[in-house]
Symmetry: D2
Subunit: 271 residues, 4 copies
């Protein structure tokens, strides 16, 4: 049983609208489904129909989408749920992030590496830094995130398992960020334009291998059994994702043009 307590966050759904609210004494919520007096909720379970609302315990996705104060474009769940595992983050990993933005990806990194892991995140814009810091402090249950209002070039770090760069010109920082990584460590980037992908690829094959460029698209469907069909419109683009791994001693390669990585890859399982 999950009972609602004072100061808990609650996700309130009415039809297709969602609201993330904190259960505060003396406060109420006025929506099209009626008036909720927050004190009345205390002691009730999450996961119930109340008046014309459905009340749920908020998920990480709800926090990201409706909780974080946004001062920048955030990395959306279709991407931010994929990136941590693509970077091979797990319980106890140490990850470096350049470009905290509003902290959406920072939040996911923190959850992925858990209380014994470490997230170090840099944001050079003071305003964004302050906003992200507040977001992280408000919504994370543990203290595994170190935030710095600092530029990448002035930072010195080492022994990170992985790094993610979310800035306008990531190619400038690749060599620097590479120096923070353990051998064989993963690096990722997100950029909105194909021009940036090209600029990154000019540098990425130096000191990194197993380079990948990809996009993730999510297509949502309507939820009526008799009329299964995609929604009319979808997000067509958030960003191109790039990934690679720190490599020592290799010659820079020109990249993969002739081969289709997904097609011709020979898979041989471990004996």
């Amino acid at each position: 049983m999950k009972a609602i307590q004072e100061n808990d966050l609650v996700l309130i759904i009415h039809k297709d609208k969602k609201y993330l609210k904190r259960v505060m004494p003396d406060k109420s919520f006025h929506g099209k489904g009626g008036v909720i007096n927050f004190p009345d909720l205390i002691g009730m379970n999450f996961g119930i129909r109340y008046l014309q609302y459905d009340l749920y315990e908020p998920t990480m996705e709800d926090i990201i989408m409706y909780g974080l104060a946004r001062e920048t474009q955030i990395v959306f769940p279709k991407d931010s749920f994929f990136i941590p595992f693509k970077l091979n983050l797990k319980h106890g990993s140490r990850v470096f992030e350049a470009g905290t933005g509003s902290g959406a990806l920072t939040y996911m990194f923190s959850h992925t590496v858990g209380p014994e892991g470490t997230v170090v995140s840099l944001e050079k814009e003071e305003r964004h830094f302050r906003n992200a810091k507040k977001n992280i402090e408000r919504f994370l249950p543990w203290k595994n995130v170190e935030m710095h209002n600092q530029d990448i070039m002035s930072f010195s770090g080492e022994a990170f398992d992985a790094a993610f760069i979310d800035v306008r010109e990531p190619w400038i920082y690749l060599e620097k960020v590479r120096s923070f990584l353990k051998e064989s460590g993963s690096v990722g980037m997100i950029v909105p334009t194909a021009n940036q992908v090209s600029d990154i690829l000019k540098e990425f094959h130096k000191g990194f291998g197993n380079v990948e460029v990809l996009e993730i698209m999510m297509r949502k469907y309507k939820t009526v059994a008799e009329r299964v069909r995609p929604e009319d419109r979808m997000v067509a683009h958030t960003g191109y994702l790039l990934f690679g791994r720190k490599l020592t001693g290799g010659q820079p390669k020109a990249g993969n043009d002739d081969v289709e990585s997904g097609e011709t890859m020979y898979i041989e399982s471990e004996e």
Copy 2:
């Protein structure tokens, strides 16, 4: 410094081919890039060019793609990296899985919930159960997975934070699996056909709310700076994903037809 040790797994890349191998004394690897005597690797770093190969420490993705012995279609990373966070799994969560298959998603669940979490996974086919068990034992660093060679209907569980059902007719088990979940808990399913989506939606609105149906598509790009372009071919389909949350006291709804969840949703941040 990550030095290669005896019995470590190593990912060997030669051009567009990848091999996952264990570093065993007295063994060698014969590929188009030359012969690797495994004892020679011991003490070298991961993340190096060696002969004509790139050698990396394997990631979770490498384990899933090249390590797990497959007796069934696996849930691929584009989906299995998304599902755990969509189910709101985090450090310490308890998750129930019906349909272990070859254990790819089980493996990701285990990593997501970490050493203090629990994964309970059921597989009724004995052959698949044995194979998955071997996969899990071989590749996971901790013991947070309970595996049962058992049908869902004969299982009794409770207080799971989330559940995932990967069987041919998931709608049969929805009510049962609902009983295992905490209030407000998340459930997910994956099915290959739209007919199954329809069959699920007929039952899903009973006792669950916030229902979503979606697909994830990944489009890979070639990695040449001067020729940024998608690969010629891509995976067009693995499965439709469905998600919902345990809801008590609501009337079954007919589903969401008129509204576009992504379009009209009103976002109000927490004060």
Copy 3:
């Protein structure tokens, strides 16, 4: 030189807004780019910058998108440009259409088969029939379209090269429409839901072969050289398209499940 004449249609573009207008004496256009007195345009060329507007001769796409009065969901250019050729329509073909709607596809059929071809189009809703008739009469330069305010079952036709069915339950009419077709003739359908695709496929393999089901997706890009990237949002779905060909003497097949038509097809060129 294409000079604008009285009563010509003109496409007026101002930034991202488009207007299709007829050049009428004594009329003017008031927009954010200034006031156009239509008589002033007469004798000027199409394809010019005028005040803050760009003026073009309207294309078939412009007529469909901004000219046709809509009483129904229209078949959009991404689909209506594909369908005529997929049905193998060409100069002089005879095509049958069931479900005129607002006439967008009728308009494309008329252009594809040209002045020596024939389009016979049925619409049972009188209101839609009248609207489509007005659209066709206003925008087509020749008289190759026969329109009937009639149901399919009450119609008798023969020797059509191809047919297209755009109604809610096309499976009901497949046998009837088949009787209108020449041997080897093509039939197509568009439906919004996967349930309808399933219902069609139950009947489609009877008397038709070479069955195909597909969707067309169009992804638009921003047009800035330094920032090549898809637009943020796109149309995710209009309809599923189905195509087949009239076949005599075959046994109904169960459909194509195991094979990937695009994958395993052996291509042998004509000697």
Copy 4:
């Protein structure tokens, strides 16, 4: 009734394999569905089951896919069915094509403009020119295509309704091709890489307006009523398409970055 005659082309389908063959006396076809003696087919109808084969009259798509001898990458039907109408080609239009390739798009242009239209197509590689010429002569029913083994810069043309450029560096030829076009005429291009899109956009806004960049994706589905689902794999990319219209007197624009053409466009129908 469409009876098969000597020298007709016939499409032979056996399971998922298709063969385009000419019905020649003294010839036979040996496939997995049995031996077809071509003289036996004469007088039979198209659109029949014969032995284990389905025999159809070939469509334009069949000719393009299985008939044209290929010396270059062809423009596939998903694109070549869309391009002619996007260029506003219709009965009697005059279209200029630079880069005949193997003639697939030339073939579609010829069918779109019909016997009273004109297609002028240039190919500078002599080998491709000869191959395309043979393709066009073999498969087209009328003579509306003029082919030249010539470079664009050495050609002089005028009063074309539309032009399409399918060469490696189309931006070099934009100004020249513009001079061939009527006022308000349409131009299109296809290129495989985003780098080329960027290079085109640098020049395209000079002398052209209403610039669009887009891709067309086709997703095929399996055809079993009980298992409606996309095929496992699809073509992920053929090329980016660019379109614009000849504009006189406008100032070159920087392109469309802020607006979403599909989103914010105000539609006003003609009065």
